[in-house]
Symmetry: C2
Subunit: 220 residues, 2 copies
């Protein structure tokens, strides 16, 4: 399956022409960000929290603490919704109404299970870190039994999803193009700075090349 069926659950209701259902469109948005927002509902009250994610095929790995409300609730098999959003710019139109945001967003649906087997968990954490910061896993002390236990790792099967994308400049109607005001875009993006040594770092340990390469790639 290369795209998600468009159904009531994942249908882009507003501005459907901006909607995407192909994995080729949705997954790059998911992979472009480190942070996602996970929504879940407990006793009639929705919650949404930010967390780290990494995608493994049609599965989303969600990181948390074993003690967290989200991890405990999701592990019980309740449905989740996960949003990944990148803001690319702020669009200023000649008309108040046509002001907008350039963005790439993905919303994923599914249920998750907690990765509990220590071997599977260790492998999943390795994959998770490898997706986030390539090569880092092999340069850090692996989790010990206690740390492994304190880490909550969820595998959410992505059963439905949609993407929504806006690009381009101000879209005023023809009759508004003669208005005297300025129109255009203020570009926006996440920028990552040079690695800053921890105050506790022993002298003579430079930031590794793979960290510098990763920062360069994040900024490219």
């Amino acid at each position: 399956m290369t795209s998600f069926p468009k159904e009531e659950l994942n249908r882009v209701v507003r501005l459907p022409e901006r909607g995407h259902y192909d994995k080729d469109e949705i997954y790059p948005i998911v992979d472009s960000a480190i942070l996602c927002h996970v929504a879940f509902q407990i006793d009639g009250q929705p919650h949404v929290i930010p967390t780290l994610h990494a995608r493994d095929g049609d599965t989303l790995l969600l990181h948390g603490s074993s003690a967290s409300r989200m991890v405990r609730h999701a592990a019980a098999g309740h449905p989740l919704s996960v949003a990944v959003t990148q803001m690319d710019g702020i669009v200023l139109a000649r008309t108040a109404f046509n002001h907008s945001i350039n963005y790439r967003s993905a919303v994923l649906y599914g249920t998750a299970r907690l990765v509990e087997d220590p071997t599977e968990k260790n492998r999943a954490l390795e994959l998770f870190m490898e997706k986030l910061i390539p090569q880092r896993w092999y340069d850090a002390r692996p989790p010990n039994a206690q740390e492994l236990k304190a880490t909550g790792l969820l595998r959410m099967a992505i059963t439905s999803a949609s993407g929504k994308v806006r690009t381009g400049s101000a879209n005023d109607h023809d009759e508004d193009l003669e208005l005297p005001g300025w129109a255009g875009v203020v570009p926006a993006r996440m920028m990552y700075g040079d690695p800053v040594d921890a105050p506790t770092l022993k002298p003579g340990i430079p930031a590794p090349g793979y960290v510098r390469d990763w920062v360069k790639k994040l900024n490219s």
Copy 2:
């Protein structure tokens, strides 16, 4: 009331020492971002979508389309949860377990009502735009009746909230400080570029000073 009572709903469960309940701590996080994520639940399925927000005292203005699933559902008085998250850096520790993110996040709870009276709606949209892009409202054509109708503006009373903040560098335990690996932080932030003219812009209309000032302030 200067802080939100800590209760089951808004309690920071994991790493409670990072939790904040004072409005003085939470509201600056809310105000620092343009985008939020709104969670709501329809027929047992949580949804989460990104949208624009602006705060008016203890009220959160949420922008959408009158046609959107979120606006229609929220307008019916169902409970919402809204997250505002700023990522400030990626923390690389000597141990896999202590890798982390520097962030400021706020989670707000409440129910909303749709602003329907045209005069109130126009005033709320003015306030909304004034918070987002100061002075812009007065430089753009105001919404006409049809545009006003197509815009969905929600006022959510913030009845509960919490903030969560991590700052600083890698926090490895003493016994891990002798490990040979590098540790530190890769700073992260949203950066806004110079205004880019719309292709349809007539010659001789420069980006206004208040737009350039606003971009400078966003980057400061």
